[in-house]
Amino acid sequence: MKFSTPLNNSDIERLNVGDKLLLSGSIYTGRDAAHKRLIELIDNGEELPFNVKGQIIYYAGPAPASPGKVIGSAGPTTSYRMDPYAPKLIALGLKGMIGKGPRSKDVIEAMKKYKAVYFVAVGGAGALISQCIKKVDIVAYEDLGPEAIRCLQVEDFPVIVANDCYGRDLFKEGVEKYRINI
């Protein structure tokens, strides 16, 4: 299935856990330090450096680009560290997150309430994923180095829906399906 950003509610409603997608369009990187700053802005009633409405945040801190490339290795980082911050961004209209590893109950509830999804990209496949990234612009927090917020233009970025807007969780369902009780 191919999907392009930005995403709206009817896009989100079409997605179910286990769906494999090829994403194209703009997505924004953001991880620990950038999220901390974004939430401070929200709490102070200040404007964010980009409008999160309909957008996807990719939990990633890429490696630097070697000559002739737009970006270095750029796989996902572990998502639970962004769990304390994610519900506030989802409430502001963020429609998707890309990362690795399971999400908290609060994040799953927020995805249900405001219609958003969580995608998993393959952790450790940073070289492969970097080939889907065609353009990179720094949007904010350049001082954070790899943790700066970057806008990435992606083409056919392979992701899997791990949490949909119906409250389903592929981490739970997958493990239950393959667990052998000994």
Binding site: G61, S73, G126, L128, G174
Partner: protein, 280 residues
């Protein structure tokens, strides 16, 4: 005394930093190919395929296989008949890391203070473990360690009465609780014995072993096999989305311990299991 110039040490460290991050070991590639045959989950299979393809791209293009190019952990085995000349030994190691990460386009992932959290900008300092051994050689092992799997590691000071059952339960439970976070399929390093810090160090050293090799002690070799079997019954699978292959291997290292203690450490390693060595 054989003399080794610090400049040589810097050169070797720089080269190893780049090579470990570009080239996934043949043992890991083979283990992943085998995992592909065993894996029943279609999503799991697809993930393993992507991991393998990623390793081929990294090798061919000389780019980091994972953007988390890690905390540079350096193991040094210094022959007691070696005289290090030309400067400060550890500064030479850090200079190698600095040059390797800059010239190799590797990510700088170290903050200078754990609470202030300002990036040092050059991936230094390295974590350096030095062992003095007989002889006149210097063995350098570089093992960059990613944060995702390191965060899922743990030390437990158990009571001797908990015995082997306690150890098995702790290791399996640790992998189970870590789920998809440490980038499974993982390699599980287990340290048993020693003191608090010694057993953590044993668990880390265990991760340097070539996949498929067993502990020379048959008792621990059996325990490794049993733990691997139990872990692969957990159903966590590639990236935690369900499947048969949760771990590629389990390695145990042990050390004598105090009559009152049974320290156990689990150090998880993601599938980007990187380590390379060179002897000067």
């Amino acid at each position: 005394m054989r003399e080794i110039n610090v400049q040589k040490i810097t050169e070797v460290i720089k080269k190893l930093c780049m090579e470990t991050n570009y080239y996934l070991g043949d043992d890991v590639v083979e283990a992943l190919k085998k995992a592909l045959e065993v894996e029943e989950s279609p999503i799991g299979k697809e993930i393993i395929n992507q991991i393998l393809e990623n390793s081929y791209i990294a090798r061919k293009e000389k780019v980091a296989m994972c953007q988390d190019t890690g905390f540079t952990v350096v193991f040094l085995e210094l022959g007691q008949n070696v005289n290090i000349i030309g400067g400060n030994f550890y500064e030479a190691v850090n200079e190698g890391v600095r040059q390797g990460y800059r010239e190799g386009y590797l990510r700088k992932s170290i903050v200078s203070d754990p609470l202030e959290r300002k990036n040092t900008g050059d991936n230094t300092p390295a974590v350096i473990h030095t062992k003095i051994v007989p002889g006149d050689k210097l063995k350098i092992i570089i093992a960059p360690k990613g944060g995702g799997s390191e965060n899922m590691s743990e030390v437990k000071m158990m009571a001797p009465a908990q015995g082997i059952q306690g150890v098995e339960d702790f290791v399996v439970d640790k992998v189970s609780r870590s789920g998809g976070n440490p980038c499974p399929p993982v390699i599980v390093g287990v340290g048993i014995g020693g003191t608090f810090e010694k057993c953590a160090s044993l668990a880390k050293q265990a991760l340097l072993r070539t996949l498929g090799l067993r502990n020379p002690n048959p008792f621990y070799a059996d325990l490794e096999k049993r733990l691997l079997e139990k872990i692969n019954c957990l159903g966590i699978g590639p990236m935690g989305l369900g499947g048969r292959v949760t771990a590629l291997d389990v390695f145990i290292e042990t050390f004598p311990c105090h009559i009152a203690s049974l320290p156990v450490a689990v150090n998880l390693q993601c599938h980007s299991a990187r380590h390379k060595e060179l002897v000067i």
